[in-house]
């Protein structure tokens, strides 16, 4: 493994370029070697040791060691480079030189307080502070810095303006001109960073190089507080947050050829925002540190002095007050957005136990699942308080893992294990909702297709409720295969298949995020945020084709991203990606179309950015391959996908047009209101609004982080465009069909939003600043997203949790009486009779009864007028005849309540979504009065009428 010198991404050894920024590693290596050779011509302060043979040649790439257990890259000790490099050889004797001892690295046992027996705090390092710092300490700092520069970060060629700016902070000038004012402090800050950050043109390769040079990863021990305290001029800061050393490039330029001289200034930055600049002692000894200048305390609420150090001064020079404070906040935001190493720790943590908290947190998640099941069982018994148990269980599953992901201490193995644990528990939340049979609407549609495949042994049988389903039989094929080979039922086989797909989704998304960011932490945060999308908990866990196609598509994205990073094995990754792409194309039309569109857009962005030569990219060949397969799939005779989509988008467009043209709110859907369902409590409305608002408000920050750090990555460009679509999709919630479209889109858009959110979290909350408040804040925000997503996508918990029968409520309408009626129909009437019935009995009659359902979506005439007419008249008979309805299945319970879905039979029925009164019972019993209609089945609530005598009768002479 190696790191990209441009953005720090972890890359394979054989990578020729960076997938993030397209930075060419070969050119970087050449550049580094050129810089190294040039550096030998002049003496520098920092590289007294560095110029020695121990410095690794720039072309030599040292692979980072990987822990065998976790597969994670080991934390690199500061002196790792020095230890691994060959020791210098004395030219006279040819023997190796003795290397100086490294006292700072050795761990000194901390003193124990005699009274308490506790380890005494070591806030200060008096020995280091009072005595001249040993030469090794300075050497270590510089060695590490220079080693990194040589291997990974090549300093850019120094420009004239850089030299000019750095002269501003030259020591003599500072000494001669004391500048106490705050505004002048900012000037100093500007001089330190302005030329490097702001004066370079954005988007250039040099720009990113400069940023890397400015950010110094060295975090030495800070002796500042003691010194300040001793002088008594100002109360010492409570704790030292971090220390900023000058950029190597700056030191090099101003060093007057004196080696590690005392003119090397050092800046200590404190948590309260002050900083003190010292004249540093050197290896020559003799001089202790002395303060050059000290800043005044910053204004209260200063977000990050460290950040402001890197930014230009406030507008208006000496302007004070709110404008200045606002500018400082903006400056801090801008600085953090471009922090090249937000994951860097103050002190690298060694993962002694790669499993970490995984077993404990997995147990917590399991207990959360048990709590949710308890809530379900309470809801089945109509016990109050079930909703509270539900949210408690969801929180137990979700929150501990999220907290753990935010901290840097978790190993990669632990993160992956926790993600799997949370994903499995959330999937089981859906499974335990109905563990003995399918209850979701879409599940029945695909179950029918599986039944046909198992029964006939062949594909493409007719599915009256979802005619397009047999043409995309990927999910059904795998389920039928498992059912055939194992003997499990379709229900059990379907649960296993979707469970595997769920696992694939989570792991693919994790790897994709990790590939793009190079960080296991960001990847785990991104994946947990993806789980907050409105469709993750129930919709994408149900037995439906999107549940399998989406993981396959995510895997294709991951494989394509991986391909871009490789030099070897590329064609095999290509083959793997294309295999999965082909499987995805024949699994789900919508996922296919969306991802084909995304690939196409990716290719266009790629053409503009050109991070690689076109022939080396996988994007365009994949787009062409996918388009060819898509055209073949769509043009299969009988595939109704085009009409399926035109009718859907026609409905959405019509509703939007109606909402726009109608006066007032009459044409639009009223949020959080359902004529049948119980009203959404206020707090749950607020939560869901907060979830949408939080994401929408965060989008500018996503874009900022992207622009500052990842704008050379074509895929992240694509993700940004997807994220910007989010507010647009939320507008669709103002229409009935559009609300479904918005929910459906969230599964795809959240792939982008989750990753960009995780990047933003990592940038704005760097791990080195994380205390307990920030993780709590972030966790609360993510949990609000999760709760809001559940409410937006599925309604309030009481509406989807188990419970008594409800009228046309899909899951709550699937109960034994309807199931037994359908089984009876299959047993006594035989399969494939043309049946007309309400929405939920359609499902049962199709799946359990194996009947052909007369419906508009299958191209049959709309017969809903038959049900809403008070009598059976010529018109009704003509409708029945036109649709060749052989059996009518009437559920008398329809007259006892309003439909929870919004309609009884079909979306286009009279009074759909606007009904305020249930259908009249007389409308349902009118068939008893027609002699030619036989009442052949009666279970109390469900009556089956045989209309064969009516429809097959010869016309009246």
């Amino acid at each position: 493994m190696q790191r990209c010198p441009n953005c720090g991404t972890v890359l394979p050894n054989n990578a020729g370029f960076c997938a993030h920024c397209g930075f060419s590693l070969k050119s970087a290596a050449d550049k580094a070697s050129r810089t190294k050779s040039a550096s030998r011509t002049s003496a520098r302060i920092g590289d007294v040791k560095v110029k020695e043979p121990p410095v690794l040649p720039a072309t030599k790439k040292t692979p980072l060691p990987v822990e065998p257990e976790s597969g994670e890259i080991k934390e690199q000790p500061l002196l790792a480079t020095i230890e691994e490099t060959p020791r210098p050889v004395e030219p006279e004797s040819g023997k190796m030189k003795n290397m100086p001892a490294l006292p700072v690295i050795e761990e000194t046992p901390r003193p124990i307080e005699p009274e308490s027996g506790k380890i005494a705090p070591v806030p200060t390092l008096p020995v280091v502070e009072e005595t001249p710092r040993p030469a090794e300490l300075e050497d270590i700092e510089v060695k590490e810095t220079m080693a990194l520069s040589a291997i990974e970060k090549t300093p850019p060629p120094v420009k004239p303006e850089d030299i000019e700016v750095k002269e501003t902070i030259a020591l003599p000038a500072m000494k001669k001109t004391p500048r106490p004012a705050e505004a002048e402090d900012i000037e100093v800050k500007e001089t330190m960073a302005l030329s490097a950050i702001e004066k370079t043109p954005p988007g250039g390769e040099r720009d990113i190089d400069s940023l890397n040079t400015i950010a110094m990863p060295v975090v030495p021990q800070t002796p500042g507080p003691v010194q300040n305290k001793g002088r008594g001029k100002r109360p010492a800061p409570s704790s030292v947050e971090m220390q900023k050393t000058l950029p190597v490039a700056a030191v090099e330029k101003k060093a007057p050829q004196k080696g590690l001289s005392d003119q090397y200034p050092r800046v200590d930055v404190y948590s309260d925002g002050t900083f003190v600049m010292y004249r540093g002692s050197s290896s020559t000894g003799g001089k202790s540190q002395s303060t050059i200048r000290r800043s005044n305390p910053p204004a209260k609420g200063d977000p990050d002095t460290m950040a402001t150090l890197l930014l230009p001064s406030a507008p208006g020079g000496k302007t004070k007050g709110p404008i200045r404070r606002a500018w400082r906040v903006i400056s801090a935001i801008l600085a953090r957005a471009q922090d090249p190493e937000p994951e860097r720790l103050k002190r690298p943590e060694a993962h002694t136990n790669p499993v970490g908290w995984l077993p404990v947190l997995a147990l917590t998640s399991a207990l959360g699942l048990f709590t949710v099941v308890t809530a379900y069982n309470a809801a089945r018994d109509n016990t109050p308080g079930a909703e509270l148990y539900f949210w408690l269980g969801i929180g137990l599953i979700f929150l501990p893992a999220t907290v753990r992901f935010l901290f840097a201490g978790a190993s990669r193995l632990e993160r992956v294990g926790l993600l799997c644990s949370v994903a499995i528990c959330l999937y089981l939340v859906k499974v335990t909702l109905s563990p003995i049979y399918f209850i979701q609407y879409d599940e029945f549609l695909h179950w029918s297709t599986v039944n046909d495949i198992v029964a006939t042994g062949h594909l493409f049988a007719q599915n009256s409720l979802l005619p397009v389903s047999p043409f995309y039989p990927g999910l059904e094929i795998v389920t039928a295969a498992l059912s055939n080979l194992s003997g499990l039922s379709t229900f059990q086989s379907g649960l296993v298949v979707v469970g595997m797909a769920c696992l694939l989704m989570v792991l693919s998304l994790y790897l994709l995020s990790e590939q793009l960011t190079g960080s296991a932490r960001i990847a785990s945060i991104a994946t947990i945020i993806y789980m907050t999308n409105p469709h993750f908990l129930l919709f994408d866990s149900q037995f439906a084709y999107e549940s399998l196609a989406l993981p396959l598509a995510t895997f294709v994205l991951f494989a394509m991203t991986r391909y871009e990073l490789l030099n070897n094995n590329r064609r095999w990754v290509l083959l793997a990606a294309w295999l999965a792409l082909a499987a995805m194309i024949v699994t789900h039309h919508l996922t296919n179309f969306i991802f084909e569109g995304l690939f196409l857009l990716w290719a266009v962005i790629y053409l503009f950015l050109r991070p690689l030569p076109l022939r080396k990219s996988i994007v365009i060949p994949t787009v062409i391959f996918g388009l060819i397969l898509t055209v073949i799939t769509v043009t299969i005779i009988g595939n109704t996908v085009i009409s399926y989509f035109t009718s859907f988008f026609g409905d959405v467009g019509g509703e939007i047009a109606q909402a726009l043209t109608s006066s007032g709110a009459s044409g639009s859907r009223q949020l959080f209101s359902n004529t049948a369902a119980q009203p959404t409590p206020l707090w749950e409305r607020l939560i869901s609004l907060a979830a949408v608002g939080l994401i929408t408000a965060s989008i500018p920050f996503y874009l900022l982080c992207f622009w500052r750090r990842y704008r050379r990555n074509a895929l992240l460009w694509l993700f940004c465009i997807m994220a910007m679509l989010y507010p647009v999709t939320q507008v669709l919630r103002l229409t009935d069909t559009g609300a479904e479209a918005a929910d459906r889109a969230s599964s795809f858009i959240f792939i982008a939003i989750s990753l960009l959110s995780a990047i933003a979290i990592a940038q704005f909350f760097p791990v080195r600043f994380l205390k307990w408040k920030q993780p709590v804040l972030i966790c609360c925000a993510i949990f609000v997203l999760f709760m809001g997503g559940i409410i937006l996508g599925n309604g309030i918990p009481t509406s989807f949790m188990p419970g008594p029968y409800q009228v046309v409520a899909d899951a709550r309408s699937i109960e034994p009486e309807g199931i037994q009626a359908a089984i009876w129909a299959h047993t006594y009437l035989g399969p494939d009779n043309r049946v007309a019935t309400d929405r939920d009995n359609q499902l049962l009659m199709s799946a359990y009864g194996d009947q052909y359902i007369v419906s508009s979506i299958a191209g049959d005439p709309d017969i809903t007028d038959v049900f809403f007419s008070p009598v059976v008249d010529t018109y009704e008979i003509s409708l029945l005849k036109a649709a060749h309805v052989h059996y009518l299945v009437i559920d008398m319970r329809l007259s006892k309540g309003l439909p929870q879905i919004g309609y009884y039979f079909e979306p286009g029925e009279p009074g759909a979504y606007t009904r305020t009164k249930p259908i009249d019972a007389q409308f349902l019993t009118k068939f008893d009065t027609v002699p030619q209609i036989n009442r052949v089945f009666d279970s109390g609530d469900i009556v089956i009428y045989d209309t064969g005598g009516l429809i097959n009768a010869p016309a009246q002479p």
């Binding site: 077993p359 193995l413 039989p473 295969a481 030619q932 036989n934």
Partner: protein, 282 residues
């Protein structure tokens, strides 16, 4: 050498076992032993094709463990899906034995390719070491146990959920030997407790048969075929009414059938519900 390819031999062995089991189960009627079938089928569908294909494609352990897992699952699913289209073209179709043979063959081919590609690779001497200690293993096992118990608890809860009790009553035309008219009707109880029923059959509003006491336990079914004596006319209205013994005055369920009688010569009649002229609605 043997240890290096242990995974491939294991994959091959499971694939062969699947084929053998598919033959035995279909011929010897052991298809109801779902536990064995499931243990064999799960790896054949979700692991083996993808794993062996990944091992065949990527040399020198190019993928670390999580990537290997993802490639394995994704490619297994992809191979299974695309295999379905291939099997659909064959006359055998998508049935048990063709599935086992097809996926087993693919696994064997991929394993063979992986075997030959591995020969040039150095032996990976570093043994795998589990990162789980005893305590963490126990905790992880406890977590899995809680998950399983949760599912079992939910199954119990779902099965014991109280639903509205009901009873099915049906009536259908049928034919008897000798082409005489008949109707079949039946009752199935889904009540919470055994119920005593009373059934009355009328033809053209005249009672023709009665069963004063039919005791049915929950889920128990009772059926009867009643021959119909045709006395004349072309229409017969058959009605079946179901009473609960404890409420003899209230019709609990009722069904009816209008039969069209067509003479087939002599005493033979055909009774159908079709080809009946619609009522004079105008």
């Amino acid at each position: 050498m043997r240890l290096r390819n242990l995974d491939l031999f294991l994959a091959l062995g499971i694939a062969v076992l699947n084929v053998v089991w598919a033959i035995v189960a279909t011929t010897a009627g052991l298809a109801n032993l779902t536990a064995i079938s499931t243990i064999l089928a799960l790896p054949l569908i979700f692991v083996l094709p993808g794993y062996t294909l990944t091992e065949a494609l990527f040399k020198n352990h190019a993928l670390e463990i999580v990537q290997l897992l993802v490639f394995t699952i994704a490619l297994s699913l992809a191979v299974s899906i695309l295999s379905g289209f291939a099997l659909n073209l064959l006359p055998t179709g998508l049935h048990t034995l063709p599935w086992a043979v097809w996926l087993g063959t693919f696994t064997a081919i991929f394993a063979l390719i992986a075997y030959f590609r591995r020969r040039a690779q150095p032996l990976d001497a570093q043994p795998w070491k589990s990162p789980f200690r005893l305590s963490t293993s126990l905790l992880s096992g406890l977590a899995i146990l809680v998950m399983v118990l949760s599912v079992v608890y939910s199954v119990i809860g779902a099965e014991q959920q109280s639903h509205q009790a009901f009873t099915n009553l049906w009536l259908l035309p049928t034919t008897q030997a000798g082409n005489t008219c008949a109707v079949s009707f039946g009752v199935q109880s889904f009540e919470a407790a055994p119920v005593n029923y009373h059934i009355v059959v009328t033809i053209n509003n005249a009672p023709t048969a009665s069963w004063p006491s039919i005791l049915l336990a929950p889920k128990q079914q009772w059926t009867h075929v009643e021959p119909i004596t045709v006395t004349g006319g072309t229409l017969l209205v058959v009605q079946v009414q179901l009473y609960r013994a404890n409420q003899p005055q209230v019709v609990y369920r009722h069904v009816d059938l209008t039969l069209h009688i067509a003479s087939k010569g002599g005493t033979k009649y055909q009774c159908t519900t079709s080809f009946i002229s619609p009522p004079a609605l105008d």
